[in-house]
């Protein structure tokens, strides 16, 4: 981002902005690798807890070094390229998926004025960059010379293009309320209340679309293990496979920080600006952790959607709801109606969305008698 914001973001190392940017990005990348290693460990522990298992507990105390052991194993593993693969496409795809995440990390604020760079169009930038990592996925799907990979690539493309629309619209809703695209400024605006309270519907839509962009259950269709055995990265091994894994967890982390900045007040709420940067970092950490655990929780309990259900959920439910949110925001902001109205309308919308899903959870009518029968029989037997 050469010509991006010329204003310095915090203190500049040695007064030389290029060197400063490089040092900062290196630090962020190093932190990211550690975060990713512990995210994999944490995910395995959380999933194990939910599934009544123990999870990794052998390498190091409580299995804390398991992630590093896995990383070493992946690094020294043989790098296999199928003969049918398109060589350069196949080999560059993992790196192309990773670069956008790196770009996102360069624009995220971790605390007040703490980050690589403050991009004035941060909100748009993050979206644009996250939209790019589909290219690497498509390249992996096309270049692997494998039908599962091809199917995974097709599914990923269809899914990510579709869900990008409600994702962007839900973020635009927040931008309307905030009146700026600068992530740092958005966080500062949430000093007294997070935007979650003003835009619950946008939050629900954002969270759902984010799960889809991350290929997390119930939207893990492109990587569906039981259908297309891993999808686009089925042919990868060793370091290239670990690049995909790194991308997955790094983008989970990036999304969690981005989401907590945009909706939960990031490092600012509560008391962020009063209690100093230590508290701000802690707030970012806690919020992104809560976000990540929510994602993992959803992953372990929810089955996978089918591709047509996925599409119709996006185009028939999420997109109209996000447009409704956009429209309501427009009216309320143009006529300067009180902000409570935002909360109210958006809350009603969110309740309608969640209620719609809950309503459909009602049991299948054709087996109602069956459920009753076996419950009774079971009661008798007990």
């Amino acid at each position: 981002m050469n010509g991006a914001s010329p204003l310095p973001f915090g203190d500049v190392f040695f007064g030389w902005s290029w060197l400063d940017a490089i040092i900062r990005i290196v630090i962020v990348v190093l932190i990211m690798t550690v975060v990713v290693v512990y995210l994999t460990y944490g995910e395995r522990k959380v999933v194990a807890r939910i599934q009544q298992r123990l999870g990794p507990n052998r390498v190091g105390p409580w299995g804390l070094l398991q992630g590093f052991a896995d990383a070493i194993k992946l690094l020294i593993k043989e790098d296999i390229r199928p003969r049918a693969a398109d060589r350069w496409v196949f080999e560059f795809a993992p790196f192309l998926t990773f670069i956008p995440v790196l770009m996102v990390l360069a624009a995220l604020p971790f605390a007040r004025d703490w980050g690589v760079r403050n991009v004035t169009l941060g909100l748009l930038f993050v979206n644009a960059a996250l939209g790019l990592n589909i290219v690497g996925i498509m390249m992996a799907g096309l270049g692997s010379g494998n039908k599962y990979a091809l199917l995974g690539g097709v599914r990923a493309a269809a899914q990510m293009i579709s869900y990008e629309i409600p994702l962007v619209i839900s973020i635009i809703c927040v931008a309307m309320v905030a009146g700026t695209l600068d992530l740092n400024a958005i966080a500062i605006l949430q000093e007294d209340r997070p935007f979650l309270l003003l835009q619950p519907l946008a939050f629900v839509i954002f969270f759902t679309a984010m799960l889809s962009e991350l290929h997390r259950a119930p939207f893990d269709i492109p990587v569906a293990e039981s259908e297309i055995v891993g999808g686009y990265f089925v042919e990868y091994s060793g370091i290239r496979w670990s690049m995909f894994q790194l991308t997955e967890y790094a983008s989970l982390w990036a999304f969690s920080i981005f989401g907590s900045v945009v909706f939960l007040g990031g490092w600012e709420f509560p008391m962020g600006s009063d209690w100093g940067w230590g508290w701000q970092l802690f707030l970012t950490f806690v919020k992104s952790l809560a976000w990540i655990i929510a994602v993992m929780w959803v992953r372990t309990t929810v089955p996978r959607l089918r591709i047509d259900q996925l599409m119709s959920f996006c185009w028939k439910v999420l997109l109209p709801m996000s447009l409704v949110q956009l429209l309501m925001n427009g009216f309320i902001l143009v006529y300067d109606w009180p902000q409570e109205l935002l909360t109210l309308t958006s809350g009603i919308g969110a309740a309608a969305l969640v209620g719609f899903i809950l309503y459909r959870t009602a049991r299948h009518p054709s087996v109602a008698h069956l459920v009753g029968a076996y419950k009774r029989a079971g009661a008798q037997a007990q």
């Binding site: 790019l132 589909i134 096309l142």
Partner: protein, 164 residues
């Protein structure tokens, strides 16, 4: 000076990848060269200090258009083995070279008014949006209608019928 060197690097990259688009033998390689080329154009917008447009370029071309093209490639299963160039390729080559020569010479020889050596300054997004929504309101609405029509048209065309 650094900016100029960077500019030349990017310009060379754009031209090189664009040549890759039209000369590569594999359709998939062409599509990937296209992505790189369009990303280079986005970088050009940054040189011209239109950050907003650069991001839109990344978002629309990188995230959507090229992905659509790749998706079409996947769905139509066009891979190696298909003859990609038509019989008019040599003639087309000559015409294109001539066109390039004429356009470049026109661009270079014309005396442009004003100081063309100046580095443009940044355009604020607020200014763009004001212009777009106030002065260009009608074209904006028409463009939206165009998008909607294209969306519906694409659905109607690509829809799978019964019995297929």
């Amino acid at each position: 000076m650094a900016t100029e060197i960077l500019w030349w690097i990017f310009a060379a990259a754009i031209v090189g990848t664009a040549l890759g688009v039209v000369f590569s033998g594999s359709v998939i390689h062409s599509a990937i060269f296209l992505i790189l080329s369009l990303a280079g154009v986005g970088a050009m917008y940054l040189f011209l200090m239109v950050e907003f447009l650069a991001l839109v370029q990344f978002l629309i071309y990188g995230g959507a258009v090229t992905v659509l093209i790749l998706l079409a490639l996947m769905l139509t299963r066009m891979g190696a083995g298909e003859k990609v160039n038509g019989s008019q390729a040599p003639a087309g080559f000559m015409v294109a070279v001539a066109l390039a020569a004429i356009l470049v010479s026109v661009a270079v020889r014309t005396a442009w008014p004003g100081d063309t050596g100046d580095m443009p300054h940044n355009i604020a997004i607020e200014a763009v949006s004001e212009k777009l929504f106030l002065d260009f309101g009608a074209p904006f609405v028409i463009a939206s209608a165009l998008l909607l029509v294209a969306l519906i048209g694409a659905i109607v065309l690509a829809r799978q019928e019964d019995g297929e």
